[in-house]
């Protein structure tokens, strides 16, 4: 009983002692300060024991470049046990020396001094308004994440620069994947899994300060079936393939008629007298002989380089009525130097240029002009060719004086290297005014010839026959020609003209001139040396 009572008294006394003892407050502790935007900052402390008495806490500070001790300007804005420094009271790059003093009736207790430079305590709030969107690009989905900078941050004036960081994870995994975004406020995440749920968090940092807290998690589900246009395109392609295949089938089945339509058979060439089979056999000699036999042509003659041979082509009309007594009206003739390789399709081939350069060439010119220079008319190659074509059809040889129908309306051409002089024929009715020849005075250049001015006027009997020519008196047979004797009357035209008295000896006898083809009663025969007969 006594023991129990004693205990009770002791307990009461201790209680009384406890309740009645007061002490100065315990030491508060400054927890730290933080500036969210580098313009204001807040500091927090933790109070110590209050010592049984109502205790107040006050914050005092000293500042670099500021004299005196100052007290916290705002105790309430940031909550209890905090001190908020607004813009006016905040200076960067200066040291603040802070301390908290707890005071009660019995005394004061001061905390340790905290040294703060606002530059070092910058820690922003997390970014705001994080939105997630599932977008699509070219058939593949991607995640578009967008956010906004935290409140109160002034980026416009360049006072702070904000950097962001993201982390993403799928719903079922524990692993976050970090991404950096320098200063832009969005991010596109391309490698996402369809049907998964994605969770995203963002944080930011100002200048070189501390990272903010991670924002709240935002999540978005990615749909399983992405509504892209692929099925549509598959359908379209399938539908277009079917008629295409059908068309191909039809084409294959009817290929013969298609072939007829698209590639009609080309008629093969047919040459009269030429046997295709013979050609195919490949024996060229037979082919050529077959061809030649058809054409009745003399064989090819070897090229005779130095010999000038002239082809006399006279008016074709005369040929029709070979009446020696009735001299043909028109005696226009063509002299075309022949010294070329005979080809069956072209009677008149190109002479060598040196032929023309010889001064004693004489060109028959039935020109009406009396100027010295040859009028410049173009060589009508085609006309020539036409003549030649006709000539070849009739099988004319080059070395005989042949008349053929192609020599009509031939125009005078300048001397192209590759052509002849084709002489304009003018149907002159006047007798005795025929101008048969003009002497070539000079050949200038490639396509001009200067001729003698004077016309060679002569009657038929007084014709100034060039010395090389003999008149045919009588034609006897296939290869015999009777020539007339020449008299010595010839004018001395020019120096080129040799002595006319130096006549050529006319063969009194019929001589074998060695003409291969039939002479058809031309007026002039060139006394060419003999050549091998066919």
């Amino acid at each position: 009983m006594k023991r129990g009572l004693g205990l009770a008294v002791v307990l009461l006394l201790s209680a009384a002692v406890e309740s009645s003892s007061t002490s100065p407050p315990g030491t508060p502790v400054l927890l730290g300060c933080r500036s969210p935007e580098k313009e204001t900052f807040t500091c927090w402390w933790k109070p110590g024991s209050d010592g049984g008495l109502p205790t107040t806490h006050r914050l005092f500070y000293e500042r670099e470049r500021l004299k005196g001790i100052h007290e916290c300007p705002d105790y309430g804005s940031a909550g209890s046990n905090s001190c908020f420094f607004n813009k006016k009271h905040t200076s960067i790059w200066v040291d603040y020396y802070l301390r908290v003093v707890a005071s009660n009736a019995l005394g004061n207790t001061s905390s340790d001094i905290l040294d703060v430079d606002v530059m070092e305590i910058v820690k922003p709030y997390p970014p705001e308004n994080i939105t997630l969107l599932v977008k699509e690009q070219e058939g593949t989905p991607y995640l578009h994440i967008r956010w906004e900078p935290p409140l109160n941050i002034d980026t416009k004036s360049g006072w702070v620069t904000v950097k962001y960081q993201l982390r993403v994870k799928q719903d079922n995994s524990h692993q976050w994947k970090n991404y950096s975004s320098d200063t832009q406020t969005f991010l596109n995440l391309h490698s996402i899994v369809l049907g998964a749920m994605y969770m995203v968090q963002v944080r930011c940092m100002l200048d070189h300060g501390s990272w903010s807290e991670w924002s709240n998690t935002t999540s978005v589900p990615v749909p399983k079936y992405f509504p892209n246009e692929r099925p549509f395109w598959i359908l379209v392609s399938t539908l277009s393939v079917v008629p295409f295949l059908a068309a191909i089938c039809i084409l294959v089945m009817k290929r013969k008629s298609v072939k007829q339509c698209l590639l009609p058979p080309v008629p093969g060439p047919k040459i009269k007298g030429v046997d295709v089979q013979l050609l195919k056999s490949g024996r060229s000699e037979e082919v050529i002989s077959a061809l030649i036999a058809n054409q009745n042509l003399p064989p090819l003659v070897a090229w005779m380089d130095q010999v000038e041979e002239f082809l006399i082509v006279s008016d074709c009309n005369d040929w029709r009525s070979p009446d020696p007594t009735n001299p043909p009206k028109r005696k226009k003739s063509l002299i075309i130097p022949v010294g070329f390789h005979f080809d069956q399709d072209l009677l008149c081939k190109e002479p060598l240029p040196n032929h023309w350069e010889k001064k004693d060439e004489i060109v028959k010119n039935s020109e009406t002009h009396s100027e010295g220079s040859l009028p410049s008319t173009d060589l009508n190659q085609e006309q020539q060719r036409d003549h030649c074509g006709e000539a070849s059809d009739r099988g004319v040889s080059t070395w005989t004086a042949e008349r053929h129908q192609c020599a009509a309306n031939v125009s005078v051409q300048p001397f192209a290297i590759s052509g002849y002089v084709d002489i304009q024929r003018h149907m002159q009715e006047a007798e005795g005014t025929q101008v048969d020849y003009s002497r070539v005075k000079e050949v200038t250049g490639n396509d001009a010839v200067i001729l003698e001015k004077e016309n060679v006027q002569s009657q038929r009997e007084d014709e100034d026959i060039p010395e090389d020519y003999s008149r045919v008196e009588e034609v006897d047979g296939d290869n015999v020609v009777f020539l007339q004797t020449q008299d010595g009357s010839c004018k001395k035209k020019d120096e080129h003209h040799t002595d006319c008295t130096n006549l050529k000896m006319i063969h009194p006898h019929p001589s074998k001139v060695g003409v291969c083809a039939a002479l058809m009663g031309s007026e002039y025969v060139d006394t060419t040396p003999a050549f091998p007969a066919s």
Binding site: V94, D117, W159, T183, H208
Partner: protein
């Protein structure tokens, strides 16, 4: 012997006569080559200052770790650039104006040339193993960086003057207006010990941060179209 002298004379003559003058590559403006725009200059300068600040922070934190724990950090430190009046918040910086802001930047950069080279020298001399092995090379790198940044800011200031952005008050800083040469002695005459190193680096970190911030404000007020 005479031939030798003759040759020598000829060479000397040639040396004097054939003096190749050096002309800067882009001396002739747009016709010569592409001169960077003001925006480019700003960009480069800001990047450089950012790098500089990063390096200074690293160096400082290295020193902080290496310091003995019983160091009394309460001691109020003073920086030798105390004399340079710098704006200490946003409004003041914006109120200062472009010319003066540029001048402040240049002053700050100029003031750190000597102390940093002294720091490097001191670090390389010091046998004390308080700091990491790489500190002297970092100090040298920072010294070069500061010099380059200063040149860059000067060029930028000239360009701004050329484009009429600033008036003519910004000129080259005359040496007399600078923080006096007792900068090094501000900390300690002779060799700097580790405490001084720490203080110096703390001050430099602060000043590089100032430079970076001021350049940023300058850019955003001068070229408002750019992303800030």
């Amino acid at each position: 012997m005479q031939k030798v002298w003759f040759t020598v004379l000829i060479l000397v003559y040639l040396d004097f006569s054939v003096r190749v003058g050096t002309v800067p590559v882009c001396a002739y403006g747009p016709a010569g080559c592409k001169v960077p725009s003001l925006a480019d200059l700003f960009e480069r300068v800001i990047q450089q200052s950012s790098r500089m600040h990063g390096m200074s922070s690293d160096l400082h934190s290295e020193f902080e770790q290496s310091l003995s724990p019983n160091k009394n950090l309460i001691g109020k430190r003073r920086c030798h650039t105390y004399a340079i009046r710098t704006p200490d918040d946003k409004e003041n910086a914006q109120r200062l104006g472009r010319e003066q802001l540029t001048e402040v930047i240049l002053k700050l950069l100029e003031a750190w040339n000597d102390p940093l080279s002294h720091l490097y020298w001191s670090l390389s001399q010091d046998q004390n193993q308080d700091f990491s092995y790489y500190s002297p090379s970092k100090a040298l790198e920072i010294t070069d960086m500061v010099q380059e940044l200063r040149d860059g800011v000067e060029k930028m200031a000239q360009k701004m003057k050329l484009e009429g952005v600033t008036g003519n008050t910004v000129g080259s800083i005359s040496p007399e207006s600078l923080v006096p040469s007792f900068a090094v002695s501000f900390y300690k005459r002779g060799g700097l010990d580790s405490v001084d190193h720490h203080d110096l680096l703390y001050c430099f970190r602060r000043d590089s941060n100032k430079v970076k911030n001021y350049l940023h404000i300058l850019k955003c007020t001068t070229l408002p179209g750019l992303v800030c």
